[in-house]
Subunit: 552 residues, 2 copies
């Protein structure tokens, strides 16, 4: 998804930085005991959260009880092996300089928010992408777990997308209170009425996870089925960190080989190329649906460049409004935009209500959906990635509706955080009693809208009093308390030593043509790291950067 | 040399754009007859210039008489095969977008003059380098000629550098009126007194040429022996133009294979690495002497990155003032900067008077010169590249003092423009009579100081009247009238259709250790193209861009 959409957004504009679902440990309780160049976690733990959340999980979310014991074994490996704040200042200066130079020469750049045309014209107002100077420690076992989940989620989304009734029913209450979801569902209904079949289905997803420090559980934050951002820049950050460790690894006691390779952009371009091939019109192109302003355009350009250079597939970039003006459907279902046949529609816009300022954009979305072009995503894939569906899937016996393999189901359930709808009175009571253990997430996309702490209590009390249907616009999620680590973040050419929390995104690609699954792969990763300092509400006060992982 | 130094400077700041030695044909007389998608040169020619300048050349500069006849054969090949202004607008828009994206992703960038920190910190305030959208047509025969000249000039500079008396004598009058040359000569004198020998000598030169439209002669503008800029970005422009022709060549009727490959940055890094190896101290590094602000830093970073990645040789960047503070000489001659032994000093600063704002910078230069580090360039190489020496070499029988091979001498003389000192009364009279056929060049470096047109006449008359020694600060050069071609230039993300003139720079590297010549190679090229519109004085009113060549 685009900047500002995911839970750890990488917008350069602080105003649009989305809130984490997670609340970082308060700074004061961390790193009280840093010795041996290792960050040491606080030894006193508030056990309440663990018991409380786990009980809910086993009761409501199908999480396998007792997994805490097995997870505990990871405890040691999870510690970062080096406190980056202890690194010699001269060495930091050298690495900082090298990182800035490397980023500039290798296209690890974004549009500068201070430069007016930087979101419209490529090549002007560029600044290095906000980055972590060094990779974040991450347990190998959870990395493996995340990679294994990727093809299962791919398959799950595909199955859900075929169950039109499930999507419509699950979102029926949301539809009444959320205009955006309602419009998406309208398009979906039209397709059901038309009995429109998507024979070639392409998914380019990113599943985002956090590691809960208390429970050592590795929990899914959300699954992005539209506009999964940063496959391009994410790969570059991995490459940058490897380059730095090749040069300075000895001084740091770090081995570049422990950074897993990242092939996100290569595999995404391969998936798009294979989809293009399946469409089987050599003259057709890939349509990239873009926002009118996009400071993260270089991430998209990397993907398109690879698609051209490796697979000789051309792309055209158009906004929803342009597609409304220039698009037409031929009687055989072919989508033409500006006279050009479209094989694949790749959305890097259209995921947020703000992407549809007028009827023009909705017409455009409908036109594309009606066409025979491969949609990445189709309206069904898009809806299957919504928060409400995520919450529905966490209910007992729902996964079984879509998947046969029991082991796969167990694997998925293991990564589900506690998720509840607001018609669960038992949970509402608990959330009013202990609001600090919950996050209220509105259905509508775009980060920054989550509700934390005492606001959870107040919002729930208000909804109870009003007795309106507005509660359907929210879900409740277990609040995750991720590990806080000392990091060095870089933005606007300036280095910041901060304590930060991280979220791991695993990319995956799925392509099938009728019964033939052509691709079902995990495709690299994206670590996002964000300053842990937070205000009372838990909303991010700092900024997020692109990061990679160092397996421990 | 750095931005602003050479005759076609690539500064982004219009104020520092240097004047060409050449005067473009007035726009009105060009392209009156463009048909068959070819630019057609004006058919009426002012024959005066040809006769006049050739007579001078054969009289004064050792240019072989009668070469006009052989040169005339090139006439047809010299025409650009396509009038770029005729290209379909939609195709231009596509290429423009692709060029901007390619530049951003591949590090073809400079610091934006509108962004305050862009010359100090890498990674901030970046903008694509000013570029020509498509390569400039250039005759294959002259390209071959230029390549052949490279090793001869390398050898010549090396021989001159060993003739301390020639340098001192030739520059003795200049010394009296030019403070900068005087300081350089002082250092040179000290080295002569010390009997300092440079056993390992490294030259990274760029010889700049223009093609005179009237005579079809390919004439040297200057030879840069210090700080030859753009080996990095120049290679990228070549790569960009090949990429564009691979994609759009068929539409344009152009073949990407006709753009000669450009290995400047690779060969320069190889030369630096080989010099480092000759110095034979594995712990020593290459010192890059830089200006305090450098918007062209990415060109330098490319060279240093290649040096590290291909040859594992590290660089440190320091200003002259920093070297004064942090530098020291060990008794064995080793240069230490900030405690770090220096194998090679590579100057990307120190070529202009403004680089020495205080005695600190001069102390720094002297310190480095006294050391055993390999200087690129040594003070002798630096002086050997001065305009006065260029003019001296154009005198009859001077080349013979340095070179034995008659064929080499003929080749060099063939590219010498008419060059005269101001003690030649005959020429002074002619220049006062026809000032439009001459350029007055001051000895001091940094572009923008040349005198054109009626100013030549007035300056000469004033100097005659005053009878001072100031005339020694200038040389007179034949004015070159280059071909004006329709081009598409890009700056700040904006495309400009302009008529432009071009200057070809040929890079070359020379490395010897005592009697052993380790490297003597031509190393790629740089085409610079500049808007032809000019004011009465001939000073550039437009801007210059990086370009490549298309052999015809």
């Amino acid at each position: 998804m685009g900047v500002g959409h995911s839970s750890v957004s990488l917008s350069l504009d602080p105003i649009s930085i989305a809130a984490f679902t997670a609340k970082p440990k308060p700074k004061t309780s961390c790193f009280v005991n840093t010795h041996c160049r290792r960050s040491v976690f606080p030894t006193k733990r508030v056990s309440l959260f663990v018991d409380f959340s786990l009980k809910f999980e086993s009761l409501k979310c199908g999480t396998v009880a007792g997994e805490m014991d097995t997870e505990k074994g990871i405890d040691v490996a999870n510690k970062s092996i080096l406190d980056f704040h202890d690194i010699d200042e001269r060495l930091i200066r050298k690495m900082e300089f090298d990182a800035l130079v490397w980023s500039s020469l290798h296209g690890l750049v974004v549009g500068d928010r201070n430069f007016q045309r930087s979101g419209q014209v490529p090549g002007v107002g560029m600044v290095h992408a906000p980055i972590a100077l060094l990779p974040m420690s991450f347990p190998k076992s959870h990395w493996k777990q995340a990679c294994e989940l990727a093809p299962i989620f791919n398959e799950l989304i595909d199955r859900i997308s075929l169950d039109g009734k499930f999507l419509q029913d699950s979102l029926s209450r949301t539809k009444k209170v959320d205009a955006f979801t309602s419009r998406l569902l309208d398009i979906h209904s039209k397709m059901l009425e038309m009995n429109k079949k998507e024979e070639i289905r392409l998914g380019l997803h990113r599943s985002d996870y956090m590691l809960d420090e208390e429970t050592k559980l590795f929990l899914q934050i959300e699954l992005n089925t539209i506009s999964s951002s940063f496959p391009g820049l994410g790969c570059l950050v991995t490459e940058l960190h490897r380059t730095l460790l090749n040069e300075y690894g000895e001084d740091l006691g770090l081995d570049s080989k422990k950074i897993p390779s990242n092939t996100a952009v290569g595999q995404f371009s391969e998936a798009l190329a294979k989809a293009w091939t399946e469409y089987n019109n050599p003259r057709a192109v890939v349509l990239v649906v873009v926002q009118t302003e996009e400071r993260n355009m270089y991430d998209q350009h990397w993907l398109c460049t690879m698609l051209k250079e490796r697979h000789n597939v051309r792309t055209v970039r158009k906004t929803l409004a342009e597609i409304d003006r220039e698009g037409q459907l031929l009687p055989d279902g072919t989508l033409l935009v500006d006279g050009q046949a479209i094989a694949v529609v790749y959305f890097r816009a259209g995921y947020a209500p703000t992407d549809y300022p007028s009827e023009s954009e909705w017409r455009s979305r409908l036109l594309m959906e009606q066409s025979s072009a491969i949609k990445c995503p189709s309206i069904s894939y898009h809806l299957a990635g919504s928060k409400k569906i995520q919450q529905e899937l966490a209910k007992p016996n729902i996964l079984e509706r879509f998947l046969e393999n029991k082991e796969d189901i167990v694997k998925l359930q293991k990564c589900f955080a506690g998720l509840w709808s607001l018609d669960d009175l038992d949970i509402i009571r608990k959330a009013i009693d202990k609001p600090e253990l919950f996050v209220m997430k509105p259905q509508r996309e775009g980060g920054g809208n989550n509700i934390y702490g005492n606001d959870v209590k107040e919002t729930l009390l208000r909804l109870q009093k009003e007795g309106s249907e507005e509660d359907a616009a929210y879900i409740l999620m277990q609040r995750i308390f991720p590990t806080v680590s000392p990091t060095i973040l870089m933005r606007d050419g300036i280095c910041h030593k901060e304590h930060a929390i991280s979220e791991l995104g695993i990319y995956s690609a799925y392509l099938r043509n009728k019964e033939k699954v052509i691709m079902n792969d995990q495709c690299g990763y994206l670590m996002r790291t964000k300053i842990a300092s937070s205000n009372e509400g838990g909303v991010a006060a700092g900024f997020a950067v692109l990061d990679s992982i160092y397996l421990t």
